[in-house]
Amino acid sequence: MSHTPERRRSLRAAGSVLAISLLSPAAFGADNPGAHQHGHSQLQVAVEGDRLDLIFTSPAQNLAGFERDARTPEEEARLETIRKWLETNPLIDTASASCSVIDAVARQSGSDGDQQHQEHHHDHDDHKDEGHREYEVSQQLNCQDLTAEDRFNAAVMAQFPGIEVLSVQWVSEEGQGSVRLEGSQTGFSLQR
């Protein structure tokens, strides 16, 4: 079996592409799947002056009570209510409720419409669309006259009792820190 020089070259090129894709750090340098633990949610808070940038991630189970597409109009309405709440209410607020939402986007990962569509055409196996789903919410808040002594209340925990543990990480000009909120303990301050 003989190959023309061109073909040999292209084979070699394909081989090296394959080798690169297998051996390059990119293949193993990528990310592992994120941890997904029901009952646990994470909140990252970055403070700059009066402005707070929040990133909230949580298994959908904690908020909606299920991790699949809505099957009934009630469930659809529930998801819509959750989305609206997440996009219009500050996830955390000061005692004097001085924070207001400037911008917010709530997104549920894993709810790819096309994929669902396909699955429904293949067969109506309900289990197929049951995977882990996450809510990812980013919010920008403006909290008037914010001081380092201000205490915050995690309103999102009161709204969604499914969140048993909320791990809060924060950064500000003064430093960094973390706090773990559990059960009825929903207050915290951004101080070391």
Partner: protein
């Protein structure tokens, strides 16, 4: 008027029994000192712990847990599992959002102290405490390939001064048999004490780290392949990898964004951790132990208080006559009972005052020694509100446990008439 009478009576009674009560109060003093000491140290150690690193926004290393990364880079505990490529380091250094980046290259030691390969950025950007910068007590930061800067504790322990020559050892550990004999380093500076692991480390340049490992590729010095310092200087001493990097972000608000991107870096698996977050995580684990310690000390205080009550109860058996006279002169049963509580609270208050003096005196004596010998910085400071509260709990608890002898005295003064008392 009645209160003044009760106080003077209580004081006279205490003075009368001073010998026995002194011993009981001394026991209480010691246990309150212990309680106060544990609470004070708890706060101070926590402060010193969280002050180990400040001003650094991210620590970047090979993929690992945040505690592991924090421990080997900042506390010099444990080892890195992997390094990060120099190209990755340069890539990060080129990121506009990153204000400064300082490389750390670990793995060697000097008489049990970590050797840290870094650059001048470490001296410029590393902060501890409340944003305090590093300073030198003698000499200057390294400039040449074979210059070394010593942490305060290293210099003190081994009596080094600028100009001294020292041989670094290959690998970690207190006694290493493979030394970098061919490439001696010269001390150029000594850092001021910080009360952090910086005091325990030895700092050289990345080029120095590279130079002393020429000919050591297989882990030991291969005869004929090692080089003299001059030969080493002529070589390209750019490292191929570093262990970790400290990163300062231009706008703090971008920290999480940069962290996320580093964690998803395509070139190689990296971990970026927030040191402040990792420290609070670590403290949360250690906090369990210190809370248990405080709990035990609290129990010691309660035991001492009960001991005090036992002494008061024993003494009460001898006080029948006294109670009878008090009743005969018109004292009500409640006054007799109140005397017991007042005595108990007075003794506890005296114990607290003595404990305060003892703690302050002890700390004043011990703190210079602690800093000198162990690099732990614990200074005298006014007590915090929580500590005053804890101290106030002692007389309050004394009042509570004092109710027991008070109740007995009250019952006794009601049932025993003057004739009973006089008859004994």
């Amino acid at each position: 008027m009645k209160i003044r009478l009760a106080l003077s009576l209580a004081w006279a009674s205490l003075w009368h029994r001073r010998r026995v009560l002194t011993l009981a109060t001394l026991t209480l003093t010691l246990s309150v000192t212990l309680l106060l000491g544990v609470q004070y140290l708890r706060t101070e150690v926590r402060q010193s712990f969280t002050n180990t690193i400040s001003g650094t926004d991210l620590i970047v290393g090979a993929r690992s847990g945040q505690l592991n990364l924090l421990l080997y880079t900042v506390f010099h505990i444990g080892d890195a599992t992997n390094n990060i490529r120099w190209s990755t380091y340069q890539d990060l250094a080129g990121d506009d959002r990153i204000d400064w980046i300082v490389p750390l290259s670990l793995g060697d030691s000097y008489r049990g102290h970590r050797v840290v390969g870094t650059d001048t950025g470490f001296f410029d950007h590393f902060r501890f405490g409340r944003g305090e910068a590093l300073s030198l007590t003698e000499g200057q930061w390294f400039g040449d390939v074979f210059d070394v800067v010593l942490g305060a504790e290293v210099a003190r322990k081994h009596q080094h001064a600028p100009g001294d020559e020292l041989i670094l050892s290959h690998g970690g550990g207190r006694t290493s048999f493979s030394n970098h004999q061919d490439t001696p380093f010269r001390v150029t500076g000594i850092l001021a004490p910080t009360g952090t692991p910086v005091d325990q480390a030895v700092y050289i340049s990345l080029a120095g780290m590279e130079a002393m490992h020429i000919g050591w590729e297989s882990g030991i010095a291969i005869p004929g392949r090692t080089v003299t310092p001059d030969q080493a200087r002529a070589r390209d001493l750019t490292p191929t990898s570093v262990t970790a990097a400290l990163v300062g972000i231009e706008r703090k608000v971008m920290t999480f964004q940069v962290q996320r991107q580093i964690n998803q870096y395509q070139g190689e698996p990296l971990s970026a951790v927030l040191p402040g977050v990792a420290l609070s995580e670590l403290w949360r684990i250690m906090g369990q132990f210190e809370r248990a310690l405080l709990g035990i000390t609290g129990l010691v205080v309660i035991t001492s208080l009960l001991g005090l009550v036992a002494v008061l109860l024993t003494l009460q058996a001898q006080r029948n006559r006294e109670i009878a006279i008090l009743r005969a002169t018109g004292a009500s049963p409640s006054l007799v009972a109140a005397l017991q509580v007042i005595e108990c609270v007075t003794l506890a208050s005296i114990a607290c005052l003595l404990a305060l003096a003892l703690s302050a005196g002890g700390l004043a004596v011990v703190s210079p020694w602690l800093l000198e010998q162990h690099g732990i910085q614990i200074g005298l400071r006014p007590l915090a509100a929580a500590e005053w509260l804890l101290l106030a709990c002692v007389p309050a608890t004394a009042a509570l446990v004092g109710l027991l002898p008070a109740l007995l005295a009250w019952r006794q003064s009601r049932t025993h008439g003057l004739s009973h008392g006089m008859g004994e």
